[in-house]
């Protein structure tokens, strides 16, 4: 069973000619089939955790370990991490001029699966996945994220999640900027992947709204660069009622 283990992770970022520590010792274990929600106020380091796990060059790991099934994730390049089974659905997916969605998806699937998917079954696979996400077929011929609305970008991220079938999926504020309909469609996509039992999900969010659609097994409150409290789904209800105030008082990073 695939397991992502994060131990005492420390991460810094360069900003305004100064080194700032964003993650100050994160401990977390995500197993295949589990869903963990990470909730926290703005600036608490949630997204830094997501991008650090994916290997974004902006972040420097200064301490701790991350392993996936015992393999050292921090030693891997960005593409190696993805091929090892890590997937990051981004809060702000990037426009890639000149590359069509269909070409992108196929190139990515080829890289992840280690061989090019058979064309006939692949076309069907993509078409069905797009239909489930209420995406128009013409979408496949557009350039990656170019001119996409906020909702289209997020659906495109979840489309990739469904097609690439990672071991560990990190969803970075996938719910932000979505209206209720889009949120429902995107959540259904995430749930389809979760229901396979094949993926461990790390759901990063600022709001409890998405948790009405995606039920987490574990909820962690993130504050000032580390996990401040962990609990079950009931912890989300507490946050819904009380907000993050209890976690940020005296915290300078809110």
């Amino acid at each position: 069973m695939a397991t992502l283990e994060i131990r005492d992770l420390h991460v810094t970022v360069e900003a305004d000619n100064a080194t700032k520590e964003i993650l100050k010792g994160v401990d977390l274990t995500v197993k295949q089939g589990e869903t963990h929600a990470i909730m926290g106020p703005n600036g608490s380091g949630k997204s830094t955790l997501a991008y650090s796990l994916a290997g974004h060059p902006k972040y420097t790991i200064t301490g701790g370990t991350v392993t996936l099934d015992g393999e050292d994730v921090l030693e891997m390049s960005v593409d190696e991490r993805a091929r090892a089974g890590l997937f990051l659905a981004m809060q702000y997916p990037v426009e890639v001029p000149g590359v069509s969605v269909s070409n992108f998806l196929r190139t990515s699937a080829t890289a992840i699966r280690g061989e090019a998917p058979k064309l006939r079954t692949w076309v069907k696979e993509v078409k069905e996945a797009m239909e489930r996400l209420h995406m128009d077929p013409s979408f496949a011929e557009r350039n990656v994220n170019e001119g996409f609305s906020g909702g289209e970008k997020k659906r495109h991220e979840i489309l990739q999640l469904e097609l690439l079938k990672p071991k560990i999926a990190i969803l970075d504020e996938t719910d932000s900027g979505l209206d209720v309909d889009a949120l429902r469609i995107v959540s259904e996509g995430v749930n389809r992947v979760r229901e396979t039992g094949e993926v461990g999900t790390l759901l990063i969010t600022h709001y409890t709204r998405i948790l009405r659609y995606i039920k987490p097994d574990h909820v962690h409150v993130f504050a000032d660069g580390r996990i401040a409290e962990s609990g079950g789904a009931e912890l989300a209800d507490k946050l819904e009622n009380e907000g993050y105030e209890a976690y940020v008082k005296g915290g300078a990073s809110a």
Partner: protein
């Protein structure tokens, strides 16, 4: 492509649409067209038509100090049956009919060449194989003049392939008879030190179709000036260009479509990728719709993809309209960059770095590559793109 927010530092995308009596296109040139080099002052670099060009790297083509050396270029023409290939003197009436030199280097080339090459496809002759002209640089300096003439209703594909090392200034004339169809692919695949400055003049006959594909990869400085005018109504011109500008290279494409005749069409699409320190691409797209040219339909587009820091693009579309009685006129220019965030996004989907760059560049050029229509050139172009990208990763 993100039109406005994604322009790298050190690039300009300027443009204008002038609807005025005063011709901005004409006033851009510091002297009227002439076959005589003496009619042009030596440029100092601040003139509108020279301001982007590194004069100090032209090896004297612009100031009269460049002299033909005899070992400049070796020109070889392979033509299918039915085509005439002649070497002629400067008194031949077919020379200069398609257009007049518009700057000092073109006039220098006209004043200095010894023999011109004239390739003629007789009327009603439809070629099934391309005419292939190879221009191979031998390390010296040369001045050239090439004429390609198609009689009425003739059809031909011409591939002009520049390789090797040379300092070359040339004029190339395309004369299309009524109803003729000509596709010309000019490949600039020079070695690193080559300097190539040329004016291409197309005169498109009544109901004739002209397609120009300019592919520029090599050279230290390449400055091309493709120009089109129409000799009768119903003419069509498609001008496509692809360039891959590397570290230290200057590649400049300056186009003019002169809609001087009613009911003609033009479509211009140039795309370039740049990588490396001091890579400099310049694209000037001038379209002039003269008062008489009612029913004109024109569109011009330039796109640039900047792959690394340190490259510079200057892209200037200009559309000048002297009559409102037209079908359509438009232009677009955009410069986008392939940046670290795009690379991260693609790599986060398992795609290795080299593959990510390849994907972006091939996708960017795909629609234009398909326009070439000459299979071996298309393949060579794709191979060349791979080669350039591999060099950048290494």
């Amino acid at each position: 492509m993100a039109e406005a927010q994604n322009i790298p530092v050190g690039s300009t995308t300027a443009g204008s649409i002038a609807v005025a009596a005063e011709s901005t296109v004409a006033t851009r040139m510091s002297a009227p067209p002439s076959f005589d080099v003496a009619d042009f002052p030596v440029p100092h670099g601040r003139e509108e038509e020279w301001r982007f060009t590194p004069l100090e790297r032209l090896r004297g083509l612009h100031d009269g100090t460049a002299v033909a050396t005899g070992d400049g270029v070796k020109v070889d023409v392979q033509a299918p049956q039915g085509v005439t290939v002649e070497a002629v003197g400067r008194d031949d009436a077919r020379l200069g009919r398609a257009g007049t030199p518009v700057d000092r280097v073109a006039a220098q080339a006209y004043s200095a060449f010894e023999q011109a090459s004239v390739v003629t496809v007789p009327k009603d002759t439809v070629l099934t194989e391309p005419i292939r002209v190879t221009v191979h640089g031998q390390g010296g300096t040369a001045f050239g003049h090439q004429v390609i003439e198609l009689g009425a209703f003739a059809e031909a594909v011409v591939v002009i392939d520049h390789t090797g090392d040379a300092v070359l200034a040339a004029n190339v004339d395309y004369l299309l008879g009524d109803g003729a169809k000509l596709t010309v692919v000019s490949v600039q695949d020079w070695d690193d030190k080559a300097v190539h400055v040329a004016q291409h003049n197309a005169l498109v006959g009544r109901d004739a179709s002209f397609k120009s594909v300019v592919v520029t990869f090599g050279g230290d400085v390449v400055r091309l000036h493709p120009r089109v005018a129409y000799a009768g109504t119903g003419g069509e011109a498609e001008l496509y260009g692809l360039y891959f500008t590397d570290s230290g290279q200057h590649q400049e494409h300056r186009l003019l479509v002169d809609h001087n005749t009613p009911h003609c069409k033009s479509n211009v699409a140039y795309k370039g990728a740049l990588q490396g320190e001091s890579a400099h691409a310049v694209w000037i797209g001038d379209v002039l719709i003269e008062a008489a040219a009612e029913g004109t339909d024109t569109y011009e587009m330039n796109r640039n993809l900047v792959l690394t820091d340190g490259a510079r693009v200057d892209s200037v579309p200009n559309l000048e309209i002297e009559t409102g009685e037209i079908v359509g006129a438009g232009h677009a220019s955009a410069t986008g960059r392939f940046d670290d965030e795009q690379l991260f996004y693609l790599m986060a989907r398992g795609i290795p770095e080299y593959e990510a760059r390849r994907l972006v560049v091939r996708g960017f050029f795909a629609e234009l590559v398909q326009q070439i229509g000459v299979a071996d050139i298309e393949e060579r172009l794709l191979a060349k793109i791979e080669e350039e990208l591999e060099a950048s990763v290494a």
